[in-house]
């Protein structure tokens, strides 16, 4: 245990994301209600988004907008002064796409409810086998 603690403290962000991701995965596997499964999927996506954003972070760096770019001091741009823009770009689109795919999933859930009058998985399976 004494060896584990410094390990957790050094990488606590990754530990948190893994725990969050596993909460989402557990909800997707074990929950019976389709909407709860969707919420689990969203938690899973959030964990991945946080993970990517934390990869882009650099100590003592500012956000990736070049200061004084137009008519500025003309100082050379140091890559270490700005955080990595690439994970932000990937996650920016991923967030919006996750909202859109969540919308499609909700639409499917609405259709399932209209047809079978339930969103519980075991009841759905029963209806399907009838």
């Amino acid at each position: 245990m004494t060896d584990l603690l410094p390990l957790i403290v050094a990488k606590y962000n990754y530990w948190l994301y893994v725990i969050l991701m596993m909460i989402g995965l557990y909800a997707m596997i074990a929950k019976n209600n389709l909407i709860k499964k969707l919420v689990g999927m969203n938690i899973f996506q959030t964990a991945i988004i946080l993970f990517y954003v934390s990869i882009g972070y650099k100590v003592d760096a500012t956000l990736p907008i070049i200061q004084g770019a137009h008519g500025g001091q003309g100082a050379a741009i140091q890559a270490a002064d700005y955080i990595n823009p690439l994970p932000h770009v990937l996650m920016l689109t991923a967030i919006v796409v996750s909202v859109a795919t969540f919308g499609v999933a909700m639409a499917l859930a609405v259709r399932i409810y209209q047809r079978y009058q339930t969103l519980e998985e075991d009841e759905l399976r029963m209806r399907l086998s009838e």
Binding site: K11, W15, I55, V59, P64, A69, A80, V104
Partner: protein, 274 residues
């Protein structure tokens, strides 16, 4: 099932946690993600594109192809919601409200129709009167939200923002209107067809700007070749191309958000909804 799920999740979690040992330290500037391509972006993007916001520069220029298809994904999501849920079937029973007195009429016979106008209006069975305070506050708030969304799109090259964010804020203003009044107010004000056309136009603007570069002698999405078309400093042409593309993204996202919301809350019937 629950136990099995818990075991699987614990095993996967333990493996991932074991894997974090080999990850770079948090905020390490020398981590593998930050030493190859991203340094090139940070150091050269302003020279090459004149856009200080690196996220926009990478999103709309270096990775323009990716973003184009992300926009197409949003459009397809709106289309999928429409196709899955839209219900064109006529209702057998109709409810009408007499506008001035608030008397509600229930017409069971489909043949007998009332003309909807200043005297009568359609209503739902499970209609709930909207609250005056909420309506008033939202009426004041919505224009400001929309102006802010336009600012976020237009200023995306220089400050945090861009088409996706601005589009979502603009779409949220429509959703707020549908929540605070009712869905019918929104659908009457902006027709369903208009949203559909706007979603397609947004994608078309993106693809159109990208394809316009080809007859001008460049590659697909090579904005610098558009310089003869637009008067002004040719150095800023890439920034202007990105702005055009972001506007397209914003329109597509706004319309797709509205389509998804409208169809889900009313189950495709486009009545008074939530």
């Amino acid at each position: 099932m629950k136990l099995l799920g818990f075991i699987v999740v614990s095993l996967a979690g333990a493996l991932l946690l074991y894997g974090t040992q080999d990850f770079p330290a948090w905020g390490d500037p020398q981590s593998p993600a930050s030493v190859h391509l991203s340094n090139d972006y940070i150091e050269k993007a302003v020279d090459q594109t004149q856009v200080p916001n690196l996220v926009t520069a990478v999103l709309a220029d270096y990775r323009g192809f990716d973003t184009m298809f992300e926009t197409a994904v949003i459009f397809c999501a709106g289309l999928a919601c429409f196709l899955l849920l839209r219900d064109f079937s006529k209702k057998r029973e109709r409810y009408y409200r007499h506008v001035s007195t608030g008397v509600i009429l229930h017409v069971k016979n489909q043949e007998k129709k009332l003309t909807v106008g200043n005297e009568f209006e359609y209503m739902d069975k499970d209609w709930v009167p909207s609250d005056l305070i909420i309506k008033t506050i939202c009426r004041i708030l919505i224009p400001f939200i929309q102006i802010y969304a336009l600012y976020v799109v237009a200023h995306g090259d220089f400050s945090p923002g861009g088409g996706f964010q601005g589009g979502v804020i603009f779409g949220a203003s429509f959703i707020l209107m549908a929540i605070s009044y009712n869905l019918k107010t929104l659908v009457n004000r902006i027709k369903e067809k208009v949203f559909g056309i706007f979603a397609a136009v947004g994608v078309l603007i993106y693809v159109g700007i990208a394809a316009l570069c080809m007859p001008m002698g460049g590659n697909f999405l090579d904005y610098s070749k558009l310089a003869p078309l637009i008067p002004g400093d040719p150095g800023h042409i890439r920034a202007l191309g990105m702005l055009g593309v972001e506007i397209g993204v914003g329109i597509a996202v706004t319309a797709a958000m509205a389509i998804i919301y409208i169809n889900i809350v009313s189950e495709g019937r486009h009545d008074e909804g939530l």
